[in-house]
């Protein structure tokens, strides 16, 4: 199968931090979990893949990607306008964009709040709105930076169902998360980052059952890494 996103020989420097990813392929319909301790480079990797950062070396090839930041900004507009914003950027007519946004807002439990200003939403609702906005954009790849970090279990389940559905529709989902259980539930493959390097990569089942690298083992056992 042809990868929908392919990072080749990526090297990025940000102050003293360096990120190197030699070869990373993502395929249509798969969910790839990016794991690693704080500061390991998960966000940097996602932003490089999204084209928000330019690598010093290497390149990213493939389809269009939408990125959901860890603290997604909301526009000073209504919930509905926020949800439809990505589609409007893509040139979708207002009426159609709003209609599609309304349908997805209903899926994330925000239909009744569609008309209210987005800044009145709770933290969890704001994340669901931002996720809906990202999902609505017509891209082959979704890059999500800890989308459920601030959500309660019911909302987490709802978001995970949407991500699984997106993958079933053939979109590739790259998910940076600290939630190992979530990675186990959703991911087909896992990449483990440590100090800007890919330490281990493989099928999710093998990764969790039989991690090879001692740093991966330590991370999965909840031990602090140096």
């Amino acid at each position: 199968m042809r990868p929908v996103l392919w990072a080749k020989g990526l090297f990025h420097r940000h102050g003293t931090f360096r990120l190197e990813v030699e070869d990373l392929k993502v395929y249509p319909g798969e969910i790839l979990a990016v794991l690693g301790p704080s500061g390991s480079g998960k966000t940097t990797l996602l932003r490089l893949l999204a084209g928000l950062f330019q690598p010093e070396r290497g390149r990213v090839e493939g389809g269009r990607a939408a990125y959901l930041p860890q603290a997604p900004p909301l526009l000073r507009r209504s919930v509905l306008e926020n949800a439809a914003f990505g589609l409007r950027l893509q040139g979708v007519a207002k009426r159609e964009a709003w209609e599609r946004a309304r349908r997805l807002l209903a899926r994330v439990g925000l239909a009744e709040k569609a008309r209210q200003p987005a800044h009145l939403l709770s933290g969890g609702e704001a994340v669901r709105l931002a996720l809906a906005r990202t999902l609505l954009v017509e891209t082959e790849v979704l890059l999500l930076d800890e989308p459920t970090a601030s959500l309660d279990p019911a909302n987490v389940a709802q978001v995970e169902a949407l991500l699984a559905e997106a993958a079933l529709e053939g979109r590739a989902v790259i998910l940076a998360t600290h939630d190992l259980f979530q990675a186990k539930r959703l991911a087909k493959r896992v990449v483990f980052l440590y100090l800007g390097q890919v330490v281990e990569e493989g099928e999710a089942k093998a990764f969790f059952q039989n991690p090879k690298d001692p740093r991966t083992q330590a991370f999965l056992q909840g031990r602090l890494l140096p």
Binding site: G51, A66, G86, L89, T134
Partner: protein
Amino acid sequence: MEAAELWEIAWRSLWVAGVATLLAALPAVPLGLWLALRGGGGAWGRMLLYAGMALPPVVVGLFLYLLLSRSGPLGFLGLLYTPYAMVLAEAILAFPLIAAFVLSGARARVEEVRLLVRSLGGTEAQVFPTLFWESRRTLAAALAAGFGGAISEVGAATLVGGDIRHHTRVLTTAIVVETRKGELEAALALGMVLMGIALLVTGLLVILERE
């Protein structure tokens, strides 16, 4: 002073300051947004803009007088001692105020707006209109500051307008005249009207700001 004359002066003040604010806003708003998109225009750019906020109105009036006087390079326009010259002077004074306010407000939002637009696949060109719309509250404050600066201005208005009765007399210049004449009641009444106009316009802008 008769009521009819007072309202004539008040209307002229409102017209001159309003047109000056809009004239200044046309280049000042895009400039403020453009500088915000380019990292704030650098320390020197910001310093120049903020220094513009402290432009002495009399000096602006003097330069404009020299430009517009009959022997000046723009004397052929015949603008000196007309309300249009006063509009020009007040627009020059309002310009840095509006641009600096817009820059300050837009700078606070530019990174998250850029991140949002780019993360959803938008282009850098789409950041500008989004930032403009997201800064609309700042725009209201910037216009209020520009209008406040313009309508309360007296030095430049006197120099290039000449304070000609029924022609270029505005509230601020009329207050000076009435005070000099010892007509303190009339001066106070004019002052109250000036305050009323300033409050009315800024009140309208606050309503706009609240959407």
